[in-house]
Symmetry: C2
Subunit: 170 residues, 2 copies
């Protein structure tokens, strides 16, 4: 692309990761080259099959289990490795769109340093659109972004006891 | 699906339509049957190519031009036709996911009646997940929804004069 910007999707509402998936699907539809990198996730998700069909690169940098009760050493190592890969993709100039899914939460949980992510944003290829998702985006990350959307939960059926469903939530 | 819910994505921020696209791509990845219906849009959008590859049904119920200076008779007719099609899909029980993109704006502009949409929600097949997007979701629509997310604009580069880019915004 001629010029890529930095987009942030944050907030406590549903739709952050799905917006990044949608953005990737649209970009792939236009023949753009997309890399979708997930921090902290190792669970199977249905979008994987669609990514394959659309030629979207996908990397999951986490364990199949969620982080409960504080991150372990292996969680930090996995997140650092994911960040390294992200840096490579974001600075290479070979991608039109790079998504760093849940990167904000990785910072929040202390798996990676905020300053490392700020550095990555600064050093990104000017032709790459960079998408950062996850709750708890920091002030500094938002300051460096060109577009920030807060997904705000107004009403959520999970509070009514709905389980995650394949193809909808995962 | 066993049980489908009603999701609303509204607000002035970016990510409403893209979240619905992402949700559709994820659902298609899980082998679910998806119909994506757009009110008021007739412009080419890049996600079309991806929808084809993923087997997602797509219908655009609008003219190639945006509605400027109040809707014309043909805009109202197009929206009514789109609503008829939507009713068919939503009540048929043949779809796991039906997206009514920009339906909230179609109500807001007076192209279709709010009560018609409320009726559609009430009559939807219990096995269909229904997604309604667009700014200005009405109180009644939100009341009938199981999940409501407001996309809130915190910062937007468009105010810095960025044009819509193929594969990113359209």
């Amino acid at each position: 692309m001629e010029k890529g910007y930095v987009q942030v999707y944050t907030g406590n509402g549903k739709g952050k990761t799905t917006a990044a998936i949608g953005l990737s699907a649209r970009a792939a539809g236009a023949g753009l080259k997309v890399s979708f990198i997930q921090f902290m996730k190792g669970q199977y998700t249905s979008e994987l099959e669609s990514f394959k069909k659309l030629g979207i690169e996908f990397y999951q940098g986490g364990r199949p289990e969620f982080i409960i009760g504080g991150p372990k050493k292996e969680d930090i190592e996995a997140a650092e490795k994911t960040l390294e890969l992200a840096k490579e993709k974001v600075t290479s100039g070979k991608y039109d769109v790079v998504v760093l899914d849940e990167v904000n939460v990785a910072i929040y949980l202390g798996l990676i340093k905020e300053e490392e992510v700020l550095k990555l944003i600064k050093e990104k290829s000017s032709s790459t659109e960079l998408i950062l998702t996850g709750r708890y985006a920091t002030e500094n990350v938002m300051k460096m972004a060109d577009l920030v959307t807060e997904m705000k939960e107004i009403k959520h059926y999970f509070s009514a006891g709905v389980q995650e469903r394949i193809g909808i939530e995962k």
